[in-house]
């Protein structure tokens, strides 16, 4: 047999849970599959999903990027300023360039000043948000209402073939990310480095190049996400999406990517993003009060991962898989700590 059941679950488990939820959704929420609602679910999760794709690489390489919330705020603000100054083209260029720049800032702190990624990106989370705050001292940047016809403003609201454009962008990002992770040398190096930085170094993988790549990639993914985000909410300031980093990391981990590095599943991340979004939509449309929404959402998170946890725990013989792959121990000492 080519792959064990466990291997299949690693990649497809969360997708299976998503499908299960989708199967019961119409029963619990009759309105669920109405065109409007389905489109709305797909549209609202795009920006989170796109950043989660980038974050999957960071976590697979064994590091977090805690600064994505600050990056999103900053990219959005700068992009809106770009739009005001030069229309659609400048807005798009500004978002991508800002994302890339943020990523490179993170990468240089980590590779040149040897600041551990956790602290470096925690620091830049404050810095990026702070710069966004400074740029919006006189009030949030917005897409003016009279620009409603501009192609840029439309990105967030348009549908093509019934699918929201932000979702189509997210699909494209995932397709590219999947190829990058599974079919390119760079993606393989990311996994190798995350699995064991020390061994990867002796395979000729340059830790510096690798980290520059990973953090720049996260930055660019935030730049793309910012485009779908601002064209959807039309505004940004320093406070945009407070707590974003935790949501993104949660989606990646829920999808099955290990925080210890070495494993990354984009299919899992994709499904996890939709899972949370669908669940949220169901709770909201059912009119569940927000206090209880939290309780249900948290409970479902635990249940989803319990299935996985129990499978690993009782995989025969003994907890062998953990024993051998080093999941339990610290064997692949990753960049998180460095």
């Amino acid at each position: 047999m080519k792959r064990s059941l466990g291997g299949l679950w690693d990649t497809w488990g969360i997708t299976a849970i998503l499908l299960l939820l989708l199967a019961v959704a119409p029963v619990l929420t009759p309105d669920f599959f109405s065109l409007d609602n389905a489109q709305s679910v797909l549209r609202e999760s795009a920006y989170l999903g796109i950043v989660a794709a980038g974050m999957t690489f960071a976590i697979a390489s064994g590091a977090f990027d805690l600064s994505v919330g600050g990056q999103l705020a900053l990219c959005s603000v700068v992009s809106l300023m770009g739009f005001a100054a030069g229309g659609t083209v400048l807005a798009v260029a500004a978002a991508l360039a800002t994302g890339l720049a943020c990523g490179l800032v993170n990468a240089s702190l980590i590779t040149r000043l040897a600041v551990p990624p956790f602290v470096a990106t925690l620091g830049t989370l404050f810095v990026f948000r702070g710069v966004a705050y400074i740029l919006t001292k006189d009030g949030p940047k917005t897409l003016p209402y009279d620009q409603i016809g501009s192609p840029f403003v439309k990105i967030g609201g348009l549908n093509v073939a019934g699918l929201p454009v932000p979702f189509l962008i997210m699909l494209a990002v995932y397709a590219a990310a999947w190829l990058l992770m599974r079919r390119t040398a760079t993606g393989r190096r990311v996994l190798a480095y995350g699995s064991s930085p020390e061994a990867a170094r002796f395979c000729g993988i340059s830790p510096t190049r690798l980290r520059v790549f990973v953090f720049a990639l996260v930055g660019v993914s935030v730049g793309i996400a910012a485009l779908t985000y601002i064209t959807r909410v039309w505004t940004a300031d320093g406070s945009a999406q407070d707590g974003f980093e935790l949501k993104v990391i949660a989606a990646v981990v829920l999808g099955g990517t290990s925080l210890k590095g070495g494993k990354g599943t984009l299919i899992g991340t994709f499904s996890a993003v939709l899972l949370v979004s669908v669940l949220n939509d169901m709770l909201v449309s059912e009119g569940v009060p927000s206090a209880y929404q939290r309780i249900v959402l948290g409970g479902v998170l635990i249940i989803a991962l319990t299935i996985d946890g129990l499978r690993t725990r009782f995989a025969a013989p003994g907890s062998l898989r953990r024993a051998v792959t080093g999941l339990g121990g610290r064997t692949p000492k990753t960049g998180l700590a460095r």
């Binding site: 709305s40 920006y47 949030p140 917005t142 967030g156 039309w234 999406q241």
Partner: protein
């Protein structure tokens, strides 16, 4: 999301019953719980169907939820926006479907809503300043130094309170020696007040743009061995229950009351007028603002505030 809701409808929907959607800022806060209550009760009294959406302090959730209400075919939308500047896409969709939008509190973000009910935030800040100045003098203090605690920088509506306060208190010859943010949070308001007192031992008054920070600052004053009414005149904003309790107990000098319940009821009245295409009387027609008065609450009148 039935197909007929895609066409602009200026008549109440199929059931004959008017459906009103209310998107609320965040039901965690007592202020908005009261606003929701006021809105709901007024709508029900009119025989309308009431649909609630909680934005949970998230602009993405705000846009998604409000658009979903419109998709579900509400006849009129009332929204207390977490981010006023994100009203654009909501109003664009509402316009496309012929749904009037009444904004409650916070701000309108420059979008073409039908009307906004708003407290006079700057005026409230002025009320606080005038009271504080008078009280400092009455307390026999000679210091002209006061402080101001702000919400998070993005809270544009709240900043107007601090701005109104600052302008008015400086007119009275006082100096705002510290203007620091407690990010709307009680925990931070407490720490910031401690820092302010450490740097300016002679500070004679402090204004906070919300009550959680205001009451926290008063606690910090007490913990420093001073009195928040007679030593450092401490004033909040909102008339949250904790502020009223504190004022009664002599633990806070004053607060500025908004009446979220009444604001909610007012939005329903405006919604009705908008549905019936009646003309609305604005307090400030240029911004389509309808003001809801604010009221200074002190020990003298606290008993009359519910």
């Amino acid at each position: 999301g039935c197909s007929d809701s895609n066409s602009p409808s200026d008549t109440p929907s199929k059931s004959g019953k008017v459906v009103v959607g209310f998107s609320v800022y965040d039901m965690q806060y007592e202020f908005f719980q009261k606003m929701e209550k006021g809105t709901r009760e007024a709508a029900v009294a009119k025989g309308w169907e009431f649909k609630l959406h909680d934005e949970k302090s998230d602009e993405n959730e705000m846009v998604t939820g409000a658009q979903a209400l419109i998709d579900q075919g509400v006849d009129v939308l009332i929204i207390s926006p977490f981010k006023p500047s994100a009203l654009g896409p909501i109003i664009a969709k509402a316009k496309a479907k012929g749904v009037p939008v009444i904004v409650d509190d916070i701000g309108g973000g420059g979008a073409p809503y039908d009307a906004i009910v708003i407290s006079d935030n700057a005026g409230g800040g002025k009320l606080a300043a005038d009271y504080m100045a008078k009280q400092i003098v009455a307390n026999g203090k000679t210091s002209k130094n006061v402080a101001s605690i702000t919400c998070e920088p993005s809270a544009v509506y709240a900043a107007r309170r601090n701005a109104g306060f600052k302008e008015a208190i400086e007119k009275q010859g006082f100096k705002v020696v510290a203007e620091l943010s407690g990010n709307s949070k009680a925990e931070e308001g407490y720490k910031v007040m401690k820092d302010i007192m450490a740097k300016n031992p002679d500070v004679a008054g402090v204004f906070s743009c919300n009550d959680p920070m205001g009451v926290a600052a008063a606690n910090a004053v007490k913990d420093a061995g001073k009195n928040p009414v007679t030593d450092i005149v401490t004033v909040g904003f909102n008339a949250d229950p904790e502020a009223l309790t504190a004022i009664k107990a002599g633990g806070l000098a004053a607060t500025v009351a908004q009446d979220p319940n009444a604001m909610g009821a007012l939005t329903v009245k405006l919604a009705d007028q908008a549905l019936k295409k009646e003309t609305i009387t604005f307090g400030n027609a240029a911004e389509r603002e309808v003001f809801n008065p604010v009221l200074l609450v002190t020990k003298d009148n606290v008993a009359t505030i519910k």
